[in-house]
């Protein structure tokens, strides 16, 4: 049965839409890659060192996230999960469109970041059986922060913690005591993850450059929390 599925799928009108979106996502990716060059130059001017600049760039592009998603998408097509596949392409498109819209901005609104991390978590959840629970408290204030700050912190939470059906990952974001908090339950991955720690350093540097304030990190056995000063 399995081997015949892809051929059947390609005759389906739905799949044409999926493929079109797929192609669009790829185009967006390369367009961004090109656009990113001038952006990283700008950061270089902001005194960020070359190494963290590279980490930042790679985080923005997130190629393994894209390729893993593509692999899952092909799986969905082969298994005839049209709706889930279409949803993933839509989410991916919206996600990368936000990155593109960020362009050369130094600050973005917290709503934009929320939207972006929600999309990111939705996509990851489609691959990992809804094991990430993201809670975002209502924030009406017009808070701004450096682009991709929340994104990077969410990625870190996913990268460093073990989660599955029995032990989901809980991430909450909100504002408390005039600070933005991003908090997750701690269940460290047993086998060390290749990590440079530059992500957090990079976020800190940006806040220091912008408002001369540092971020606060609370790391213990129960939870991991980052507090961002409000700009």
């Amino acid at each position: 049965m399995n081997s015949a599925l892809p051929y059947l799928l390609f005759n389906d009108a739905n799949i044409f839409k999926v493929l079109t979106a797929f192609f669009a996502a790829t185009t967006l990716y390369f367009f961004f890659k090109w656009k990113d060059r001038s952006y990283s130059k700008k950061i270089g001017l902001d005194n960020l060192n070359a190494e963290s600049e590279l980490i930042y760039m790679r985080n923005q592009l997130n190629p393994h996230f894209l390729f893993n998603s593509f692999n899952s998408l092909i799986g969905m097509m082969e298994e005839g999960k049209h709706e889930a596949g279409a949803k993933m392409v839509e989410d991916l498109s919206d996600f990368y469109r936000i990155i593109l819209d960020y362009g050369k901005r130094n600050l973005v609104s917290i709503e934009e970041e929320f939207q972006m991390v929600s999309l990111f978590v939705d996509i990851i959840n489609q691959r990992f059986d809804d094991n990430i629970h993201l809670t975002i408290s209502d924030i009406s204030d017009k808070i701004e922060l450096p682009p991709l700050t929340l994104q990077l912190l969410i990625e870190n939470a996913i990268k460093h913690n073990e989660f599955n059906d029995e032990n989901p990952l809980y991430i909450s974001i909100g504002v408390r005591d005039n600070q933005i908090f991003i908090k997750n339950n701690r269940r460290r991955k047993n086998y060390k993850v290749k990590s440079t720690g530059n992500g957090l350093l990079n976020i800190n540097k940006r806040f220091e450059l912008l408002i001369n304030k540092s971020i606060v990190i609370n790391d213990n056995e129960q939870y991991f929390e980052v507090l961002l000063p409000i700009i």
Binding site: A4, H64, R127, Y191, K192
Partner: protein, 244 residues
Amino acid sequence: MKIVILEDEVLARNRLLRMLDEILPDHEILGMFRSVRDTATFLLNKTVEPDLIFIDIQVEDGNSFELFELVDIKSKIVFVTAYNEYAVEAFRLNAVDYLLKPLKKYQLKEAVDKAKPVLKQSISNMIENNGVYKSRFLIRFANKLHSIQTKEIAYIYSKNKISYFQQWDGSRTASDFNLKDIEPVLNPKHFFRTNRQFIVHIDSISEMTRFGASRIKLQLRPAINEEIIISTEKTKIFKKWLEA
């Protein structure tokens, strides 16, 4: 080929399994795991050595290179990952191949082929050593011995790890032979391995019907209540064999 899979994402794992069904019908999955921990536990307590292990690099409980610190692995390794930055480390661990996601069938096939040269050699050795194909089988099963002439065999099939020699006269003899070992000692002009389960004599095929886009379904005589489907991969060789 005995296979173990370390992959924490269900969709990715299912894709790999589907591809393996197509390109390597004669495989057996010994275990599938989502974490380094579970894979290590399995490998430390295993009774059968896997031939090949597929490993995703970032899995549920961390980086799977750690597996090599926990277990002395003798099996062939193929990494399957969306990350391109681990290739050097992978080859230091003597990996057979390093495949990037999205996974492609032809690349997986190349990797699998690289992983099985020893098997290929052992088959060719058998043929060389014998020089001729077997004209008679001595079948031992439980405490009985049977001698069957090859010309009496309509087809051979395995079910629940037992191989049955189906004879033209309708009788059937059970054996503990492995189809994999029988295949090379039969004359390929007369016998064809249709899939994991069956080796059929050309004259035992009573009916052929198209099945799906590119597969063929067989009816055999003496009749048997099993589906015999020739995979897409084998259909071409099968047609050639029929015309030879």
